[in-house]
Symmetry: C2
Subunit: 390 residues, 2 copies
DNA sequence: ATGAAAGCGCTAACAT
DNA sequence: ATGTTAGCGCTTTCAT
């Protein structure tokens, strides 16, 4: 006979004595329910997992006992015993940034609906913190893992590879399938759910070229870690150059991005005459013909914040947009299309990325096939800020 | 002797036969590490938890074994055995809303730094979903629980109360201590980390009154669930009336809040003459003297989005702000202070609420005293949109 | 249809 | 300083 235990936890939740050995924490267990229902715990366990297998009258008694005790299954015990987890671990650079916040919401909505739990951690764009957090999250033996982007610390990559080898689906979000050239070579390939930032950069250039602009600028994010913005910039510049246009990539200063955008407007209007001669050499990497003083007629930005800053400053200075300078953002935030003129921008599948990633994981978990990569659609929304003059 | 197991999982990860009984999932366990280090598993376990207690040379061997095997502790097993959890469960209405997203970030940053894990779920402002999610999260036996607001389904309340009784700190965020009158009576009191929305509503009214306005409007959120906005509105109206001013509370239409704000500008400028006589009766609940046609000179809004919509529309219609109409927002979003004129607003401790809640929980967990309630500071940031004319 | 036994991977308690 | 034993609460396997 197994070690006796007090007949009912319910009667005396703080029952003591009897056994000096380790004891429960006073919580209702399967066994309490079983006692109340007059069966053994395995029957209750079975009822919980496959109710149809239990006799109708037994089931009824169990249902009663469940309600009477207020039983809450202990998930760690269940997972430990079954080796299965319904946790999905997600690593995002930042939860406050509305880009990732909406992705988190998409993940959360879709996973919750499927009965999964979301264990979330933010990395602050740091590969080190990502690795550290990944290690912590993997200790939960999650059913699946979501990470952001395709840049990871070597050890993190190894952990992800090991997890996948053990049958845990791994998905990288927010980047598209690696296109040639710019990507670091890497043995491990995880399914990607996102879009190609190269393509977006190219489309941004083409949009401005199509409006007749020949002197383009890309205002890059000053945040070094935002490699997606840098990638878009490279693709933008390449496309512009390919079309025979002049193009420069300028890095925005750090700090409040709206103010950075305002400041950049000045540089865009008079790029060859730095306001403060004493200031450090400007970081413009001019492309195209180096000689001509580039008076830009159009600028694309790494994000809507920078672009809106420039737009607002233009409005303040009575600089005509798009007449004197066309402005194109990235992200299509609700407030940016309210400005005057409304900002043209690239609408992103922020929420959809979360949903698609979750779906891919759920598919992989049920079907046992690998998570499928997915390229999601974005849209360049042309508004007045890049309208063709005329 | 305990059931024999193959000498090393490392050598033959897929070793079979021997025992038909349930077997591990091929993962590295404490025992594998112990074998590699020539000790028993408890010593490794000990090393992991209190390294200083283990002999130096043993420790060195364990360290090596740990590295060689790539061991990752199984958290469910650890928690089950110890009865301790480092999970904090958080329930937020929405992760995409930047208000809660920043709170989530504050929670995440602070908890991660303390070695805790964040299990997060969103409720979509639905009390039912909150209860359901709460039930799921409590199954993890979290170390602490964070919920949003003080309105919960009865059963959810019971679950929270039971959790607290079992020693799990529970914190409600985003609301302040219940002030009299408006709050539903309730036996259970959890620690609150937030601020009083009554006080904010009052301060908003006082700010406008101090600028000399006597005909005030509060534009409430059309979202029924946003009871905090409604509370601010009630307090706003009460304060205005107390000061002898005229005041009305108008409900914004649903849908895009910027456009709703734009639409509300029309109502504010000509509140007595509904544009479309055929439209359903407007939802304005006029307070103060009912007779006078209230031509508002100032309006406070439930959020910056609505306020900015009105501000932008005013600018489009060449209605002077604050000359003809002063506008006051709530939330103090970065884009709103970039407008022309910059929007006065109430700056909220969005991130700080997360940090403070996490700290309170950590304190409660280490000190074993109850989580302490906290009132956090907000600031009414006066900008040009409510500047005194003259 | 229900139960007994064993075990998931770890840690607490009690040795030595 | 290290090991032995029992047990956390559940599920699997194998009876009955």
């Amino acid at each position: 006979m197994p070690p006796t235990r007090p007949p009912s936890r319910l009667a005396t939740p703080a029952d003591s004595g009897e056994r000096a050995a380790r004891r429960g924490h006073g919580r209702i267990t399967l066994r309490d329910v079983a006692e109340a229902a007059g069966v053994t715990s395995i029957t209750v366990s079975r009822y919980l997992r496959e109710p149809e297998v239990v006799a109708a009258d037994t089931a009824a008694r169990i249902r009663e006992a469940l309600a009477a005790t207020g039983y809450l299954p202990n998930k760690q015990a269940g997972l430990l015993a079954s080796g299965r987890s319904n946790i999905v671990a997600a690593l995002l650079p930042n939860l406050a940034n509305s880009i990732f916040a909406e992705t988190a919401q998409g993940l959360s909505d879709t996973l919750q609906a499927a009965g999964h739990e979301l264990l979330i951690a933010s990395t602050g764009y740091s590969l080190e913190r990502e690795e550290e957090q990944l290690r912590a999250l993997l200790g939960w033996h999650p059913a699946a893992v979501v990470v952001t982007g395709r840049r990871h610390a070597p050890d993190a990559l190894a952990l992800l590879a090991a997890a996948r080898r053990a049958g845990t689906p791994v998905i990288e979000i927010w980047d598209g399938q690696p296109s040639g050239g710019l990507q670091p070579a890497r043995a491990e390939r995880f399914a990607q759910v996102g879009f190609s930032h190269d393509e977006v950069g190219r489309a941004m250039a083409e949009h401005l070229l199509a409006a007749g602009h020949r002197r383009l600028a890309y205002v890059d994010s000053g945040v070094a870690e935002d490699y997606r913005a840098h990638e878009r910039g490279l693709a933008f510049a390449a496309a512009a150059r390919r079309a025979g246009a002049e193009v420069a990539v300028l890095a925005a200063p750090l700090g409040d991005p709206f103010n950075a955008g305002r400041e950049m407007l000045g540089r865009l209007l008079a790029p060859a005459t730095p306001a403060r001669p004493a200031a450090p050499a400007k970081r413009a990497r001019s492309g195209g013909s180096e000689k001509a003083t580039p008076l830009f007629t159009a600028a694309a930005f790494a994000n809507d914040h920078l672009a809106s800053g420039a737009l607002l400053e233009a409005s303040r200075r009575r600089v005509s947009v798009p007449g004197r300078l066309a402005l194109l953002g990235f992200g299509d935030f609700a407030w940016a299309r309210q400005l005057d003129p409304p900002l043209s921008s690239v609408a992103l599948p922020r929420y959809e990325i979360g949903v698609a990633a979750a779906r891919a994981l759920l598919d992989a978990l049920s079907g046992q096939r690998a998570a499928a990569p997915q390229t999601l659609a974005w849209t360049l929304v042309a508004r007045e800020s890049t309208a063709r003059p005329r």
